[in-house]
Symmetry: C2
Subunit: 356 residues, 2 copies
DNA sequence: AAACGGTTTGTCACCGGTGTCAAAAGACTT
DNA sequence: AAGTCTTTTGACACCGGTGACAAACCGTTT
């Protein structure tokens, strides 16, 4: 015998009226119970609670949505080239809202489209989600945020660095972790280090570049501008980067690539040129969303905690729904720490790190 | 000046009553227009249409959801180990419903959990989606389908082979395409071919195995049972497969691996053992969701058309919403054709194929 | 002109909750 | 015991649509 008891009653789901008459109160009182209003005596609270349990009553979200002008749904807005990022983030969000009545709607948008704002506005006004989660890179667009504010839709932005106040933002600290990893690479003996950058116009490439440069200047290494390649985070551009950086007479002994997919592209070229990795060349990636462990050799990289960020973002967006086990979480935390995963593509010297 | 005109009116969205009074008709008539009921004179249809346009009226989905006991949302039910599959499927679905008022809700479930059915039932009764899309492997579970039928929720199942009637199913034909690819491998000269199978208990591994065996028997090659390894579709199990199949005195000259992630694992081992691919060994994968092109050498594989399957599944699930450009699609089609992508990990002889 | 069948339109209750505000019930004074 | 203030409860309209059914309209027929 399982938890559910309502299928006996000819299969009509019990309504608030059923509960009200069974408990001998008005439906407004039941409504108060549902929304745990403080203005209730313990006695009636108990009566209603019993009635709800015996009927197996569950409030109808559509009716509440109409009355409250708010759908019991949170939306995920993204324009993300990386599937794994999106899915892992979804996993985090869903682990947070698993036992709630909330649904998660995904809404991919087209960053390039001039209708982006109109699209999102129509989505928000039609679906009226409780709130939206905005993934990078569009999380950086202030016009989107202003739209949310105007439409009075709560939001949480995800970023590679804090983009907003703590209740509206979850971030990793890419700059710091990259600095740490590249620092460990330098301490392992490298001086001539290449850098493959991400696309222009977004924040995470800037952060990762900042971390790279920080590490170099901390070690008093002057950066050779010939050793930089500007990619777009895609595998193909990693191939181009590899062709440019590895086909020169004096190759770098190591390359930090701003994400794993491009690192896979560089690796591809290294193989074609017969350059041994590691050995002739060491390679550092960023993201750790699968690709890093599927290539040969597996990449030393930064694990970007996107799943955990999803979980935290959901907690911040709708704390009142996920409160159960999470009251003691620190919802003011903005930074979710990343960590370095040392695999075969590069040897690091993590021990001798000076104080951070 | 953009399309929207309602923000002038103090920002309250126009309701059906506004439209009704502007058009000089009752709100029921407007409702008829919205649901394009046939019982309307051309004259009133025109009046209402004009009123809707001038006000920029959009029906409130929550209200309709309440009245119709149906949420304007389709749900994606999955328990899929492969992130790319899920995201690409989502992309297909969203390309179909982009211009509709529909939302897409994702609902990952836990195949192992004894509460799976209860979970899904609670989700379906609470959210009351228009319909659900069920991804493999849980698309094979008949108890889920019976649940949908009992709750009167429309559904479309995705599979590697037709699982249901044409209105409830979209499928690839894994067996046929694998047979074709392995046949081309045989014609390229291989006789001793290894096989890495997917997990027990699901359909797609069976189909892919069937295709492999078909190709062998069509060429009158007897299969050596020592050349099979049973994996679970994950990278790690590909590594184990590689260790077993490649550490023997007489190695296979080629291996067909039932998915790309495991193929990446086999490749990993080949590199460790210094086995050249191609050259000493040729490798065939299946899926083509990214991994295949990010490894070295890039894999010859089958492109599994999961995105297109998503699009078609959405069309079948809610044809009345996506009808616009799609009337002329064949919604009776069940099989979405796959195709072979020849990259570097194996040379095929596709030309000399006999008739299929 | 009245009766008739078919089409188009409107009325009103209803979907299942919530907001407003007034009434009822308790607690506390005097 | 009556008066006052505070807490708890209920009546009723409302959120924005749809369904059932009745009314109005229209062109024919008798």
């Amino acid at each position: 015998m399982t938890v559910n008891g309502n299928s006996a009653q000819g299969h009509a789901a019990p309504t608030i009226n059923d509960v009200a008459s069974l408990a001998g109160v008005s439906k407004k009182t039941v409504s108060r119970f549902i929304n745990n209003s403080p203005m209730m005596s313990e006695a009636t609270r108990e009566k209603v609670s019993v009635a709800i349990d015996t009927l197996g009553y569950v409030p109808n979200p559509q009716a509440r949505a109409l009355a409250l002008r708010r759908n019991f749904m949170i939306a995920l807005l993204h324009d993300n080239p990386n599937a794994k990022t999106v899915v892992n983030f979804q996993k985090g969000v869903l682990s947070a809202i698993r036992d709630t009545e909330l649904a998660l709607a995904v809404r991919p948008v087209d960053r390039e489209s001039p209708d982006l704002l109109a699209d999102v506005e129509s989505f928000l006004t039609k679906q009226r989600p409780l709130g939206v989660l905005i993934l990078p890179p569009i999380s950086e667009r202030s016009d989107l945020v202003e739209l949310c504010q105007r439409l009075e839709v709560n939001y949480v932005r995800i970023g590679s660095t804090p983009l907003d106040t703590s209740e509206h933002c979850v971030a990793s600290n890419d700059r710091q972790i990259v600095c740490k990893m590249v620092g460990a690479l330098i301490r392992a003996g490298h001086q001539r280090i290449g850098f493959v950058r991400g696309p222009e116009g977004f924040r995470s490439p800037i952060e990762r570049e900042g971390g790279f440069m920080d590490a170099l200047s901390a070690a008093n290494i002057e950066f050779d501008p010939d050793l930089i390649y500007r990619g777009n985070y895609r595998f193909e551009s990693g191939v181009l980067a590899g062709q440019q950086l590895l086909n020169r007479e004096t190759r770098p002994t190591a390359i930090f690539v701003s994400n794993d997919e491009m690192a896979a592209g560089v690796l591809h070229v290294a193989h074609e040129l017969g350059i041994r990795v590691p050995g002739d060349l060491e390679l550092l990636g960023f993201d750790d969303t699968g690709t890093a462990s599927y290539v040969w050799p597996p990449l030393t990289t930064v694990h970007w905690p996107i799943e955990e960020m999803g979980r935290l973002a959901a907690l911040k967006l709708v704390p009142e729904f996920v409160g159960d086990g999470a009251e003691n979480e620190d919802l003011n935390a903005v930074i979710v720490p990343s960590h370095i995963v040392e695999r075969s593509s590069a040897k690091l010297n993590l021990k001798d790190a000076k104080l951070l």
